[in-house]
Assembly symmetry: D2
Homo-oligomer: 466 residues x 4
């Protein structure tokens, strides 16, 4: 997706139980591998002899933590978090894990997702005499977990189950209590959450890419609507009684969010993306000399498109690797643009060629035009845009930060209109059916997916928006 | 008190209701004048159209706030706070005012004091399902205020009265709610709290010195055990039903904490300090040529001693005005010391003189020795130390950060022993009776005072400490 | 090159003359595109009405400059610089451009390269009564330029020529004087330097990739041993009388340093790298199922190797894009490593495959081993390492920061020994002849190159080192 | 002087030779005591085994240096500096000591003063081929010292003497070379410079107050026009051949700049200020009830006025001790002002009293009015302003940063006019003759002084200004 920051995953979570291991450092490396799921803030909380100690800060994982920050975080259990704000408030006070004292002892929470009934939950807590310091879903979840179970034995398991019955929406959580790390996933299973094994320990994470970095092996997914309790004896799965929900894993994780080296639903994301490209070649063929992907996220789909179409694959755009938010506004006279700062064309590779430009998605559509122009200026005679997902036409309420409908180009224009607006010779999107076929081709059993941002069919009740 | 930071006041609070005035700037100037009551952090909260907006930070008032921080803080009501931590945790998350959302709407709180039954209050809240994020008394107070009144009408007045019945200890509070600023003082009246009037508004503050800076006039004290509700129509005093407590205003505020230009219990603090010096001259006369005070806090007592004794007053020590915490440790070879960095003697004024050195208090006793030595090195032939308060021998549980008994010199030695240890020719303290007489000489009606740090007689149940 | 930071280019330079353009912003964008040539500090100097104004700082270009820094830098002429230190002293005082006042007026200088007779030049200046504040070559160059021409007319042209006769070694300079920007290149032409044209202006830069970003077009190289003076009327080439030197452009710029989208010696660097890969396939063929390049720098060579060998090209390693220096040391128990933090293998693409791993160079050899192991762990049955340049065996004295010989793996081991040490099934390097053939295949006229780091044959007298 | 920052001393210098002592820490403590002479930046340079190492930074001495900064500064010789900029450019690059390499070896320089022929010196250097990086006098002095002596033996002594013949104006210098620390004072002796003795070492400093802090004893002044060379064998005085100049020590050092505990010209500054107050009482008596000084600088004069007049001395104004530059602008509605932020009146001390308000000087006159008003508001029935120096009417060219004539109130109004403008019942200044008499009453031999800011009679040729 070349639309810089057009859609943003809300968060990455991690948990570890590993006596004898430096769990804070393990969390650091794991969060480093989950950096793509949140670049605004990061935090680590460890259960030590004197309770929970946490270190949090604004910025990239490597900016937030120093050896000195991690040194005091000793213990056998830890959780961690990387974050974007979906509410737009960027403040270290919103950095997670969120840590509180409760009547059951200390608790830390890391959350990926978005609750759809937050106002009702908020009112519920305020009426019970709980003061709230923020607008965040995560504070709601921790204060709900601080509420005693009204009848019967008061245990963390029963408290978590109680919260799962109250909260609606997307939540993949890691929790830290005195004796255990917990991995909790909503009944829809909107966001990913997996379990792994270390020599002498167990881990949980949003994506398996976090495991490779620390020498852990993926062993299982956290099934939707389940709780995995991990203590020093290993993980135990709990299945609380919950209303039935249809499984709805986010298809956009396959299209763009997840790292290509992660394994989700037992398949490598990179392989799914190659299949998306292959399917796209079948649905939208074109006579051309060269297949070029928009780096880096669309390269697997471009390789797939090239393989299926027989058109040679080549590099056509170089991406400036020196990431940094620049607030320096280009002037008209310079005719510079965010796209020119980010991408440079490889003239000699493109001159005189008919080019298929593969992108993984088009959201706002503001950068596709300048990229097409770059290729033409570098000598491409034709530019055919091929997108390895359907048009994005609907907002997400399940934990992804997206533009409003007014800013989605596919709400205004069809493929032909988009081709015209961005100056391409043609433009085609993968069909919803094609996408689902490519996603599901590698599954070993039937699974449900959410494609609401493409189709508008939400698996959950959502606010009524224009 | 020359014992650098040996005893520290816990906080300063402020509140203002003034439609048409820039209340954030008024709070800024007032906090600047209350800086001596807390130099670790500062904060301002304003009630505006969209609720409460707050700005807080670590450091001196002038370091914490910029014009840009204050600009968005628009409204008619505000509170502010300057802070030391008494618990020792120095963190911006503990900076006040503490702001929460409650079932009654938004609430901000600024607290000076210390609760003596915090563990019981904490347990009370946890058992009711409230998660707590810190160890601070101020969070306890806000969460207690978030609890609904169990029977009858639920109003802020009734909630505050309910909290006053639950909380034991020292608290002078300013609160900010949607329509009013509240000034609340515990039934003992340990810490100061006063009300003033502006053209077109009303203010509350720990000390009246904050009023001069913003053109306000002192109009009343907040009586112990009362609530002053200030809205756009002015202040109204409420007297909730509370168990009877004996009035116990802190005598150390007169001795050292309060600014000399503040008016407390209707008398100027500077005048009280002069009387303390006069009384000291009567109780502990000595034949000498010069009276010198330790700058700046002991100068009024030194002027009083000089006037009552007939011995000339003069400057004998110069204080380095460039405040800054230095972590550079002096080496033995240099024989430098914190005292030499802070004070330089005026040789020609001291040579051949018998000097009375007046200090307001001796706590640890670690700096008196070096100062006596400075005077001797500069040529003083005799040095007689006179202290305008009794020996400090007991910890404070009512909001003052103090050394433990093991570090109080008067727990180890009597006046003669202290004279020997610090190398003085003689040493004398003001008697408890003398101090109370000097304090009360200016009162227009009988009042009770706490002198527990001198006498060990606490007006409240305190933890049993060795 | 997967050896993180094993060899580092010393600097990037830029210059612009463009009345009516915001030259500071143009410099900002150009330096952003030259970021790969120096990430330690950056600076911009502009000639305005009141003389030269400069802004410099430590860090990436996007971190160093804000709109507020650039706003006062108004004028028609500017130069800029991005920097690594080759001497190891990292300090903002060494950030360039270096600005001085001289008897001829103000002067700013930006330097890429390294002088080989610095001690002699230093002594020359000290004996003439010039005090020096640093150890840097750039200060030497500016103070040499401050020296009047002893006979005849004293002009900048004659001063520059005088310095070119005194200084030995590598220097590609941009200079800023009252009326002109100057681009100066040493007689060997070690480091690149090119000239471009804007609508209404002219630019000079280390590489042409800086031109695309600002809408400029490459028009010429600065020939070795020449001075290009650019004023408001455009560029004029000056050829000072100098001793004859053999042209010696750095071949490592082709192998690794230069951006693939730059055009050097009239050929696209990306195309040269593809030819290096093709040549490598001819020299060192192997039976395999998949060609994988080490991202990002070796991908063009991998594409070339795949095309020439007929073995399919695929992605096998994912690079973590979130750059940041981490000082968190991995623990043994975690078995994490810098390589695991940087690269993750794509399991499903590699399982059961015989893999050709193409890298552009091997310097220390410390990371090749872990990468080979990553591929094996991910299921590769064979790993054949192919390197698109000869073994690096000699230090550089012409502006590249390199490890000493003791740290160069090829000084210790031959290809078979390296294969064994890094755990590869085989290892082969491109020959020197093969490299030169691939480099020169695209040239339109004969040119000389320096390959001293591969061959040990230096085109210039260098210090005698073990 | 209540005119906040109206006149500012330019700098403080220090030097030490003390084998076996931690000279960097000694410099730190000494600079801390010289903080009043410059609060913008500070620096320390030490001669160690590998040459000069320096640490410099912006801010107060306690902010600039940490233990970690000082630890590497090992050696037997050091110099230090605290600084204001007189040119207005506030930048760490201007922080001193200024360190260079010369043909004679390393050199560091710390300078207090201002050269009156800087443009000529600048031109001299530029024409000799020296590039200059700043506008500072100190760079001129170091580069002049880098110039070889044209004939005869080239020694530091001869180089320093050569520079003393070239440079005109005020300079009290400490220099650091390989074997010695040098203290150098211009032939007029405008700014102070003294020598002291440590156990096992020697020191030089702008003021003797720096000696007390480190256990050193004042032994001598550096006589105007002399060089004191201090090596491991102690100090040696050199008297270079120079044109005759009349001794002209700055009288404003006595009035305001110097610390009251410093000894200058063998007399305690505090004693001189008391005499100024006594003389003022004689010249400008008034019937009154109370003498109040503006804290802190005017308190000695107030004590002197009280003693000579027989009117009681008392505290009338409290100064807020929490220094910090505030950029928060007061609003009209609040009627707050810089004066109200800085001073609070002691109501009960002032009510119904006729007050003599003693200040040490009036420069801009902008704060005297608000202070008079403060006293009246607090109940003073009359306020008589008495100033212990003559009216300031002329700029200083010898190292003091002053307002221009347009901003000097005494250039516009006579004493009666000033009394009217500031709302005082009367206003009187000490006469020039009275000031000189009070200054000279304690001298043991005849000395010359500069009073040009009062009289307009400059002892040196100065630029022609309107």
């Amino acid at each position: 997706m070349a639309d810089v920051r057009a859609m943003r995953e809300a968060c990455g979570v991690f948990g570890i139980v590993a006596p004898g291991t430096d769990v804070a450092k393990a969390a650091f490396y794991a969060l480093y591998a989950l950096q793509h799921r949140g670049q605004e803030s990061a935090g680590i909380a460890v259960m030590g002899a004197g309770g929970i100690r946490a270190s949090k800060g604004m910025g990239l994982v490597t900016q937030v933590f120093t050896e000195k920050d991690l040194a005091p975080l000793t213990g056998d259990l830890a959780i961690g978090h990387t974050r974007y704000s979906t509410s737009g408030v960027s403040d270290v006070r919103n950095a997670q894990p969120y840590v509180i004292h409760t009547g059951m002892g200390p608790l830390a929470l890391a959350h990926n997702g978005n609750l759809t009934n937050a106002p009702a939950l908020r009112d519920y807590l305020l009426q019970r005499g709980v003061g709230l310091v923020s607008e965040s879903d995560s504070e709601l979840l921790t204060q709900l977990l601080a509420q005693p179970v009204p009848d019967g034995e008061d245990t963390w398991s029963r408290r978590i189950a109680q919260v799962m019955r109250l909260a609606e929406g997307a939540y993949s959580l890691t929790l830290l209590t005195a004796d255990a790390v917990w991995a909790v996933r909503d009944p829809y299973g909107f966001r990913p959450l997996v379990i792994g094994e270390l020599p002498g320990g167990w881990v949980a994470a949003s994506e398996s890419c976090a495991f490779a970095t620390i020498g852990a092996k993926l062993t299982a997914e956290v099934e939707p609507g389940t709780i995995v309790r991990i203590d020093r004896h290993g993980p135990v799965v709990e299945r609380p009684e919950l209303p039935t929900r249809s499984q709805s894993f986010c298809s956009f994780e396959y299209v763009y969010f997840a790292r290509p080296d992660s394994v989700i639903e037992e398949q490598l994301v990179h392989a799914v993306r190659q299949r998306l490209g292959q399917q796209l070649a079948k649905e939208a063929p074109v006579a051309a000399d060269l297949v070029v992907g928009v780096p880096d996220s669309a390269l697997p789909a471009a390789l797939g498109y090239a393989a299926a179409s027989g058109i040679p694959y080549g590099e056509g755009l170089i991406k400036n690797r020196y990431i940094g938010r620049t607030f320096i506004q280009p002037t008209q006279a310079l005719r510079a643009s965010a796209v020119k700062l980010k991408f440079n064309p490889l003239g000699a590779n493109l001159t005189g060629k008919r080019v298929v430009l593969v992108d993984d998605s088009i959201v706002r559509g503001t950068t596709a035009g300048p990229i097409v122009q770059l290729l033409r200026d570098a000598g491409a005679t034709e530019v055919h845009v091929r997108v390895s997902s359907p048009p994005v036409m609907n907002p997400c309420y399940m934990g992804v930060d997206m533009p409003s409908r007014a800013d989605l180009i596919a709400c205004r224009l069809d493929a032909a209109g988009i081709a015209k607006e961005i100056g391409a010779d043609s433009c085609a999107f993968l069909s919803h059916e094609g996408m689902m076929a490519a996603v599901r081709a590698g599954l070993t059993r039937a699974r449900g997916h959410c494609a609401a941002c493409f189709t508008g069919r939400y698996p959950i009740e959502v606010p009524d928006v224009g």
